[in-house]
Structure formats: C-alpha cells, structure tokens
Subunit: 122 residues, 2 copies
Amino acid sequence: MVERISDAEHEIMEVLWKRSPLTATEVADQVVDQKGWSLQTVKTLLSRLAAKTVVGTQRDGRRFLYSPLVERDHYLAGVSRKFVDRLFGGKISPLVAHLAEADELSAEDISEIEELLRELKS
Amino acid sequence: MVERISDAEHEIMEVLWKRSPLTATEVADQVVDQKGWSLQTVKTLLSRLAAKTVVGTQRDGRRFLYSPLVERDHYLAGVSRKFVDRLFGGKISPLVAHLAEADELSAEDISEIEELLRELKS
DNA sequence: TTTAATCGACTACGGTTGTAAACAGTAGAT
DNA sequence: ATCTACTGTTTACAACCGTAGTCGATTAAA
C-alpha cells in the first residue's frame, strides 16, 4: 500500500514525476509562482514525502536530489480505486453518469472513452 | 461551493441520504456496528456537519432530527470534478484508462458505460 | 418526587495538513 | 580567515480529523 499523499504533497509529486531527480530549489521554481508557496514550504513538503519514503533522496554535495519512489501510474491506480469505492460503490459507471449529467463530458472525452472501450474489448 | 466533508462525515451523510430526518441515535444504529464507532462519535460528526450547514436540524422535544441540506448528486458531482481535475487534468478518459489497465473494469461496467455514452450522443 | 436514562454541548487529545520562520552547517567568495 | 548565500533540519502553529469522555439539562419511569 502506498502511503497517503496530501493535496499539497501531490503537487510536488507531479513535478518530480515530470522530471527527476531535482533539487528542492528546482522543484520550488516550478510551483512557487503558480501556487504562491514559499521555498520553505516546498522543502517541508519534500521532507515529509521523503519521511514517507515516497520520494528518495540522493546527496549531491551539500544538497539533495529528490526522485519519486512510487510510479505515478501505481499511485493513481490506488487512489482511483479508493475514490470509486468510497463514492460510487466501486463501480465506475455511476461516476461517468455523474460527470455526464453535470455536462462535464465533452464530445472529445466521449470519443476517447469509446476508443478505450473498443480497445479493451479486442 | 459545498463545504468539505471528511471521510467519516461522509459515512453519516450516506445514512441521511438514504433516509431522513433521523435522530442521532437512529443514525448511530446504522453505523456503530459496521464502523465500530461509539454513539458519541456519531453525535460529534453530526454536530460538525450541522456546523458546516450541510445537514439541518429540527427540534423534536429534547432531541434533534437531522436531514441533509445538500443533495447527494450535487455533492458527488463536486467531488468528482475536483478529483478528476486534480489527478487527471480534468479529463475522465485517463481515469477510465487507469481502471481499465488495472483490470478494474468488468465486462458489465464496459457495457454500462457504452450504454451511457450512447444515450449522451442521442 | 426522586431517580435513572437520554440529549445535545463542551472539552479533549493525538495525528495530519498547509504554511512557513528560525536555525545550523557548509561551500564558495573575498 | 571571514563572511555570505544556500542547504536541509527543527520548530511552530492554527485548522481539520478521528475518536470519544464528561457535563448539565430534561424527560420518562418508579
């Protein structure tokens, strides 16, 4: 089971999943402006992620290089499962139905999903 | 925007969405065994939900009757949106793809979703 | 009418989260 | 050799969460 990752921590993970290893400052450069966080905040989040052993650290002189230790796919699969279980009794069709009802599905979404399903069946 | 509802609170909401209004004890009867909570815990959760104005209270003698003030559909739509936004860049097809890859989609799920999409397009 | 059961309100308390300041070590500049 | 800038570490702190004990009021029972 993958450790729980909070919302703010998840932002950091996304950065590292895009490219790694990175220093704290490099990570910060990609989120500070967008999220309005301070460098200190980013460092705290990185430490917490490291403590949870969901990112790994590698010394590079006086600083650390951070890299994800869990794969994005693996993590997403886990949280998706939990989400669908908790809110939709484990079935994804009600979720699709909900998004559909709320007009959250674009024509593009629809064709993409159809394509996916076609592949699945073949 | 609907107030944030925590996991434990959500359990309570599900009970109230099924039937309402209910007294605290009645709500508790439906979750205490299953979740291993005490009656006090249920009362606390109900109070917090009431404080968030996501359930309403109606005096009935010395006790309260609790009812949901937000519709389940509305709430689910909101959290689904947030979830898909945060983890999948707002697009649901990657979510479907994930569940599919993890073999989480049964043949039944697939046909249900196809049916949904057919309806959408008509 | 005294008592026992029941209600909601208030209090508690350790853990997590978001957000960061303060601090201490160190490498590089002067 | 000193100072400065940059690192990670430690500490902070309020809000939220899970989980519940306690307390004062009230009602139903005896």
